[in-house]
Amino acid sequence: MTEPATTLDDNPVIARLREAFGDAIVETHAHRGDVTAVIAPDRYKEAIRLLKTDAELAFDFLTDLTAVDRLKLKKKPRFEVVVHLYSRKNNSRFRLKTRPANDREPEVDSIVDIIAGANWPEREVFDMFGITFTGHPNLKRILMYEEFVGHPLRKDYPVNKRQPLVPMREIPEDRPNIYSF
């Protein structure tokens, strides 16, 4: 593989994924040379394995693993897990997405046994969005405290809801209005 292609038709990564997974590739698009494929959740882990281990593609570096709550976009399914990959061999990037079917208890296969660096990002996604990664070795909260109830980056988490650990004092009357300086 040489130059990363900018259109989808001749993109070798998409071609390779289509060849391997056929209809499981739900959607593809490219934006300014950034290529994205959406894959069915049951083939997601296989696709990651292929992208990483294939000698030609060699997407051996996990740039990021995150998620999107599409509640306010009124899209189904609600959640989308996004994996950003980088290939050192080809100096190219690729984005793979998958959409767990269950909106109440979203579940996705963990990819920690393929890419060890996905451990903490998956925990963060679990913490913030409540997406369960099946097969994760240690799936517990990473940023919020254990007492925290709910998942703060879900779009239905009330924006003004606070869960303090120590009792909150009243705002003192002599707190100056610092915005009037």
Binding site: M168, R169, F181
Partner: protein, 171 residues
């Protein structure tokens, strides 16, 4: 300040002034640094702006030896119990400085993670707004705190004590 038969005696008021003078020039800070404001704290503390001119340059990293709790940076709800505990461990007399807008009001972090002003957790003596505050603002604030120390009444033994319940000090 004249000698007044109604007010405190000449000796006690002189003593209070003396203690105030000593205390305002030896404010040992405990830097409770959690975020970006820390860079500005370092700038204030080091040679160019030199907090040492005000007797407040010797950071004590144990709350028991500190007089001034400098809360520098965003305080999250996860961190609030730690801050409360550090405050409780400090001996009287103690002063609390909210350094930066995050500590004053939560700043622009109006979200699930951030305490909306550390005065919701512990009492605050001095608010220094700014994101981060310029070193001049911090020095100005410090001088205001010294002014406040000068104006308040001091005794050799601080009589601010928590009530003792059933022979056990509740703190």
């Amino acid at each position: 300040m004249g000698v007044d038969s109604q007010g405190p005696g000449f000796f006690t008021s002189r003593l209070s002034d003396g203690i105030a003078w000593a205390r305002k020039w030896s404010l040992f800070p405990y830097p409770f640094v959690t975020a970006c404001c820390g860079m500005e704290y370092m700038s204030v503390a080091s040679a160019h702006y030199d907090l040492d001119r005000f007797g407040a340059a010797w950071p004590r990293f144990t709350p028991r030896q500190a007089d001034m709790l400098l809360v520098v940076g965003t305080i999250s709800h996860k961190m609030a119990p730690v801050l409360k505990r550090v405050y409780d461990q400090m001996c009287e007399p103690k002063w609390v400085v909210a350094f930066g807008v995050c500590t004053c009001t939560g700043g622009f972090y109006d979200n699930y993670a951030t305490v909306q002003g550390i005065d919701r957790v512990i009492p605050v003596d001095l608010y220094i707004p700014g994101c981060p505050p310029r070193p001049e603002t911090v020095l100005d604030g410090l001088m205001k705190l010294q002014q406040r120390i000068t104006e308040s009444h001091h005794t050799l033994r601080e009589d601010v004590r928590k009530p003792v319940v059933g022979g056990v000090n509740t703190t």
